[in-house]
């Protein structure tokens, strides 16, 4: 659904996007993660034919960016960072306007469908200026979907929403995926990306990593098992380090963090060794790395110091 080959955008001296190559498939939720100013919005704007690339090529829903822009815009829906609604017009009138510009065949039907789906039907006659942030965001999502696009770009879709509304939007996104649409999701909510996305790209001007969240966690951190011990002695670590399956050992307070290729096979051996060394094991668990750990390791901490 989305293919980019060496896509780049330069604004004068500033290289905003460099050599971006990726593929997003139908029925996939693709997370596009990166710090502010990383070039995410520029990428989305290029892929939705709002601005032209200065290098490389891209195809979205079968249309080449820069050559079939009008057709491309008919096939993509975009939720911009700010909802961007006409405050003096009603919710219904806002959607009707965009439905007509998208040449939707059944304007009234589609408007009603999405207003109902996002819980705004009862407020359809009210001017949007009086809507809460959450309602505005939902209306903007409805607008992005009116013409049933094959590819949907969502920029921070749940940023302004309360937990209940955020959940509704996440369920909505999951539904879109099941309908076979490609969802290109830009978000700073890494927990949301972890839950929603089939694959994620970590991006800062250029692509830093691209894979499933689980694969990225594995690639960057491997797998680690944490042994909570009643008392800690240096000899326990020595004993464990001597085992061939062990890749790394760290002592954190009374916890032994052991890096392993395959914990399921190595754990019985490890436990035996620790018990023989006189350790009292209180609890064993896998150290859960989050997508945030992955992100910070790739992008660096907010101060620019790579996380360890």
């Amino acid at each position: 659904m989305i293919v980019t080959e060496g896509l780049g955008k330069r604004f004068g001296e500033l290289q905003a996007v460099e050599d971006l190559s990726l593929r997003v498939h139908a029925g996939e939720v693709f997370g596009f993660l990166g710090p502010n100013g990383a070039g995410k919005t520029t990428t989305v704007r290029m892929l939705s034919a709002l601005i032209g690339p200065t290098s490389g090529k891209a195809w979205v829903a079968g249309c080449e960016v820069g050559r079939q822009d009008g057709e491309l815009r008919r096939k993509v829906g975009i939720l911009t960072e700010s909802p961007g609604l006409y405050d003096r017009l009603s919710a219904e009138r806002n959607l009707e306007f965009f439905a007509r510009l998208y040449e939707v065949a059944d304007v009234a039907g589609q408007v009603e469908r999405y207003l109902r789906l996002l819980g705004l039907w009862d407020r359809r006659h009210e001017p949007v200026g009086g809507f809460s942030k959450g309602m505005r965001q939902k209306l903007a999502i409805a607008r992005a979907m009116l013409h049933e696009p094959q590819v949907v770009f969502l920029d921070e879709p749940t940023s302004a929403l309360d937990p209940e509304a955020a959940r509704l939007v996440r369920e909505f996104v999951a539904e879109l995926k099941h309908e076979g649409r490609a969802i290109f999701l830009c978000t700073h909510n890494l927990d949301e990306a972890d839950r929603l996305c089939d694959r994620v790209a970590v991006f800062r001007t250029r692509l830093l990593a691209l894979d499933t969240p689980a694969a990225l966690r594995r690639q960057l951190f491997g797998r680690s098992v944490v042994f909570h011990l009643r008392t800690m002695e240096a000899s326990f670590a020595e004993r464990v380090r001597a085992l061939p399956a062990v890749q790394s050992v760290q002592i954190v307070d009374r916890k032994l963090v052991v890096g392993l290729e395959d914990p399921e096979s190595a754990n019985p051996q490890l436990i035996r060794a620790l018990v023989e060394a006189g350790a009292d094991i209180q609890f064993v668990g896998e150290l859960r790395r989050t997508l945030e750990d992955v992100y910070l390791k790739l992008v660096g901490t907010p101060d620019g110091i790579p996380a360890t």
């Binding site: 709002l50 601005i51 975009i78 911009t80 700010s82 965009f98 607008r143």
Partner: protein
């Protein structure tokens, strides 16, 4: 064409909910129609002008009064002063509408979703431009019609009423007016690309009235005589100016420019 209509309807349904815009669009035509009518009434009333001869008029103007009595010529002279003020309508109304329509979209950040639709930038510019130009032209023409009918009802002689429909007035109202409106919208688009506050855009774009006011005061002071030849030159000049301004506005009104270069 259909999308242009969709944009125009949206613009009107939104912009005319703004009282400031509605006030400008309503007040200017009312004022500029009422003033010359009141003047005609006062001048035409008992003892209004008394016995005025065309010898009291500037000689160059008196030549325009062929077939009119001295009093009628004086009325025609004063009412003609208002012709340039009439031209304020096609200048000011589009500026106000376009400022709120384009800068308003910038400040509410509705331009990006709009640009993401399959609408072409020409359709968008045409829609927004016509939404600003059409009410101005409509108001100008309607005001002129009301003025002509009002003048007749006020007892102004048929010769003077006929004179008000001479080629100079018709050219000014029906050709120069729309050309001014186009120039005004083009200037509003250019200014809208640089400012973020509708009122600032309106005030800056409002400076387009300065040349017109200069002409008006030139005419009042007797330095300039408004005649068919001058109005014809105005039309030709505006046609050339509009071509340049429109080309520049179209250049400025491209998706990439709007999203990356507009302030």
């Amino acid at each position: 064409m259909r999308k242009i209509g969709v944009i125009i309807r949206k613009e009107w349904s939104e912009v005319f909910k703004n009282r400031l815009v509605l006030g400008t669009v309503g007040f200017l035509p009312l004022m500029l129609t009422a003033m010359p009518l009141v003047l005609l009434r006062v001048m035409g009333g008992e003892g209004g002008l008394g016995e005025v001869g065309t010898s009291d008029m500037p000689a160059s103007f008196a030549r325009l009064c062929e077939g009119l009595s001295g009093a009628e010529c004086a009325q025609y002279f004063f009412v003609t002063e208002f012709l340039l003020l009439y031209m304020l309508m096609p200048l000011m109304i589009p500026v106000t509408i376009a400022a709120y329509s384009i800068v308003g979209e910038k400040s509410t950040r509705t331009l990006e979703p709009l640009l993401a639709t399959p609408v072409t930038t020409i359709e968008l510019l045409a829609g927004k431009g016509l939404a600003a130009v059409l009410p101005a032209i409509g108001a100008t023409w309607l005001s002129f019609a009301v003025f002509a009918i009002g003048a007749r009802l006020l007892g102004v002689g048929p010769r003077l009423v006929a004179k008000l429909a001479d080629p100079m007035w018709l050219l000014a109202i029906f050709i120069v007016g729309p050309l001014l409106a186009i120039a005004s919208v083009s200037v509003a688009v250019m200014i809208s690309s640089r400012v973020n506050e509708p009122r600032v855009a309106e005030q800056l774009a409002g400076l387009v009235v300065l040349p017109l006011l200069a002409l008006f005061f030139g005419q009042v002071s007797g330095l300039i005589l408004l005649n068919l030849r001058l109005v014809l030159w105005m039309a030709v000049g505006l046609l050339a100016l509009d071509s340049g301004l429109l080309a520049f506005a179209v250049q400025l009104f491209q998706r990439e420019s709007i999203l990356t270069r507009w302030k």
